[in-house]
Point group: C2
Chain length 203, copies 2
DNA sequence: ATATAGTTTAACTATTTGGTTAACAAAATT
DNA sequence: AATTTTGTTAACCAAATAGTTAAACTATAT
């Protein structure tokens, strides 16, 4: 089947490109290396994706479309605030174990290319904070949590969950543990982080 | 003066190299661009630093030696735990405003080159967590704070302080504010973050 | 004044790298 | 069965890029 063969090749390329781009970034990635990993000729990369830039954009969009639903779990989920924080924290660790380089990749390339954000924003499913804001102010009015700006709380949640992965090599060195122990620490954070946040805001 | 002239050129190169490497990373930086920024011929870069790799290492070490004392403020300062958290948080924001690309640069290059950590570890002034551990367990024993592992608390402090800068483009988009408003949010974090942490752990 | 050591440049080289071309192979279409 | 379309490759090209060389220049010491 032609269709199947094509789809396989195209998927193979995207898979290989993801690995290389996410590990080395746009600037550090080499088309030849991607071709090798996909076990095809370099010209085929250009046949399917025209240029390094376009291949990169395909990888980037695909990465972001995996990350966005994760973020939406904090922002646009209907569950109760505390429950939401607990679920997100628990899920996020599992997510990053499946896609270890992904969050770092997205953040890194956004830093080097802040105008990308505009492109992402216009797309559907781009996470919005509005609902979360309402939920936080409701919880404050109902006396469930102490006054805090929703933006600050959101940044705290995201920071506590994402940074331990992005800063892994640095944190491992500072905390002075090996990979195995660090993984245990991360595993513990599945519950630890949520309780840390809830402790801070609950009345 | 010969000496002064040499030192100026060498310093000019390092200054230019810092800017370029910290913004674009090892892979994205171009020797020509560094030479242009330092207003010298490209051959002079090699005269003073032999290779891109060596120039990069000079920049990296210099960057880390600025970051290390900041981290030591949480780890090896003598002040009281709460006071320490407040001071660190306050200082860190000012530090990053002075060196916007620095923390991201260090973390990014460590991710792409985890073996760098070994080189850094052996150097003096490499931050150690031991003192902080004692301080936390003392505070727990004295009933000042709830039980928490020092490692987890440390990771939380660092995450809450560093990530808002590293994730700036992403967070700005998610929180849906412009640069000016985001800067205000960061400014507020100077006190906000410390209180968030202390609220969570104090009894 | 002159030798000497250090500094700087223009021009060059070798290699890497993204991208192209032309020929070939395999399917799909007629 | 013939032809068109799609997929794949080896060989090639031009631009970019790290690094080199040799000569010129500058300042200091002799």
């Amino acid at each position: 089947m032609d269709k199947i063969k094509t789809e396989n090749t195209e998927t193979e390329i995207l898979k290989a490109a993801k690995e290389i781009f996410q590990q080395k970034g746009m600037a550090g990635a080499r088309m030849q290396e991607i071709a090798d990993k996909a076990k095809i000729n370099k010209a085929l990369l250009h046949y399917y994706y025209r240029s390094k830039q376009l291949l990169f954009e395909a990888v980037f969009k695909s990465a972001f479309s995996l990350l966005a639903p994760q973020l939406n779990k904090v922002l646009n989920d209907d569950s109760d605030l505390f429950e939401k924080i607990r679920k997100f924290t628990e899920n996020y660790v599992s997510f990053v174990i499946k896609h270890p380089y992904l969050p770092n990749f997205v953040i890194q390339e956004l830093n080097k290319n802040p105008e990308f954000v505009q492109k992402l924003r216009s797309e559907k499913n781009f996470p919005s904070i509005e609902k979360f804001k309402l939920q936080v102010s409701d919880a404050i009015n109902q006396g469930i949590i102490k006054p805090i700006e929703a933006e600050q709380l959101f940044i705290n949640i995201i920071s506590l969950n994402i940074f331990p992965f992005i800063g892994e090599p640095l944190l491992m060195a500072l905390v002075n543990v090996d990979k195995e122990s660090y993984n245990k620490i991360l595993e513990n954070r599945k519950t630890e982080v949520a309780e840390f946040i809830i402790n801070s805001i609950k009345i």
